[in-house]
């Protein structure tokens, strides 16, 4: 059967129409893929911004916590020492030389203790710089300060931890999480022992904070609006791509495990 010219012309016309529709769909596909790429980029940017906001907020909280610690140190310790020094000095009777010398010596001792305390306070004021020296140093210093109160028996294990300079941003948030948990222990736990275990593996960083306090029922605390900041702790751990897990037995104590994967 021979194909007529008319058939060929119709075929050409039809094929041309199809050949015009094909690029049209291809272009529509490219446009739609590009839109998805844009949405993904915007989502990524949003996440980055929220991370930066959280980081800033955390830095401010660390600073606020440091100032609170300084204020309490000034009020409870240095203030007391200075008052005692003043009382000692004003009670000196020069005519009684032997007693006066003893009191001067006592005042000198108090002043030396005061200077020592102030030196420690200066270190506390440089809390932000401490984090730049590594999470281990910052946590260690915070625990050292807590140990001074002689209320708690502190155990700090950090043998498997090596500071990674690429993780500084993560460290700031993790340090703030640590502070938040320790605050909870001080405020609510009525504990006598605090154990902190800082570890690092191929997967990332793990921070375990355990106390022998009165514990609590997790579900109940989670339902509360402030909930001892448990939601904030979980949310911040999630921002770092990690997880915060609580285990608490009323009357026995609480354990918080924070696992943060390595930043790639």
């Amino acid at each position: 059967m021979q194909i007529s010219s008319t058939d060929i012309y119709s075929l050409v016309g039809l094929t041309s129409v199809i050949f015009l529709i094909a690029p049209l769909f291809l272009i529509l596909y490219v446009i739609s893929y590009n839109r998805k790429k844009r949405a993904h980029a915007e989502e990524k940017e949003g996440l980055r911004q929220s991370f930066e906001n959280e980081l800033l907020k955390t830095q401010m909280e660390v600073q606020e916590q440091t100032l609170q610690n300084v204020a309490s140190e000034l009020h409870d310790n240095i203030g007391q020492l200075l008052s005692l020094t003043t009382i000692t000095l004003t009670s000196i009777n020069i005519s009684n030389t032997a007693k006066a010398l003893e009191k001067i010596e006592r005042a000198e001792q108090l002043t030396s203790r005061c200077i020592k305390e102030l030196r420690q306070l200066t270190r506390l004021l440089y809390g932000k710089e401490l984090i730049s020296k590594g999470l281990k140093t910052a946590i260690g210093f915070e625990l050292e300060w807590l140990n001074k109160t002689e209320i708690y028996q502190i155990n700090f294990k950090n043998d498997n931890y090596e500071a990674d300079p690429r993780q500084t941003e993560n460290d700031i948030i993790l340090f703030r999480l640590f502070q938040e948990i320790i605050n909870n222990v001080i405020k609510h736990a009525k504990a006598t022992t605090i154990s902190v275990d800082l570890e690092q593996s191929e997967e990332g960083t793990q921070l375990i904070i355990a106390d022998n306090g009165q514990g609590f029922i997790i579900d109940e605390k989670m339902k509360e609006t402030n909930g001892m900041g448990l939601h904030t702790i979980q949310r911040r751990a999630a921002i770092l791509g990690g997880k915060a897990t609580y285990t608490s037995i009323p009357g026995k104590g609480t354990e918080v495990i924070i696992r943060i994967p390595k930043k790639i």
């Binding site: 012309y9 075929l11 094929t15 041309s16 490219v30 590009n34 980029a41």
Partner: protein, 222 residues
Amino acid sequence: MASYFTINTIAEFVCLIASLFFLAKDKNPVWRLLIFYMLLNCGTEVAGIYMRVGLHLHNYPVYNLSLLAECGTVTFFFYYLFKAYKNVFPYLITWLVIFMAMYITELIINHMGQFLFYTASVMSIVFVLAALYFYYLMLMDEKYMRLSTYAPFWWVNGTLFFYFGSTACNIFFNYLIKDTHILFGNSIRYVVYSILNIILYSFWSYAFICRYLQRTYTPSSD
């Protein structure tokens, strides 16, 4: 005189005006090159009509000659677009060598008396592949573009429509050469090419507008 006012000449002329208006002050010489190309296209069309209607001669030589400018300009423009993503210089040289070899061979075989159909067909296929490759590079690129005003995208769209849409006409070229079929008073080949030209030059004109807007609204416009 009426013979000179065809759909093709009007579409080309409108695009030439658009290129003159929107690209004349463009900082990039590659985009400015398109003004000359459009001018050459309009000249080719007018010369083709003059040879056919005025001198009653075959106008193949004019179109065969314009094939060189077409291949050169479109290839160079694609090269410029690809350069933003990767180096394709070796492919550019290879393609130009192949094209020239085909062009000269077909010209000798036809004794310069026919349109270089095979060379034009291969060139169409290569340009379709180049357009598809451009989309591929664009999709693979991490950053997204605001495509509604992205001039290279619309230039490539027009090019793809034209060269892909003309495939049917290229396949049946030998049949269509004797085409006497009447559709709206013209041959089917003429109708198809008129539609393709309108699409091509509309897209290109829009690309020129996008380029102009990009230049006007952003400090650096490369």
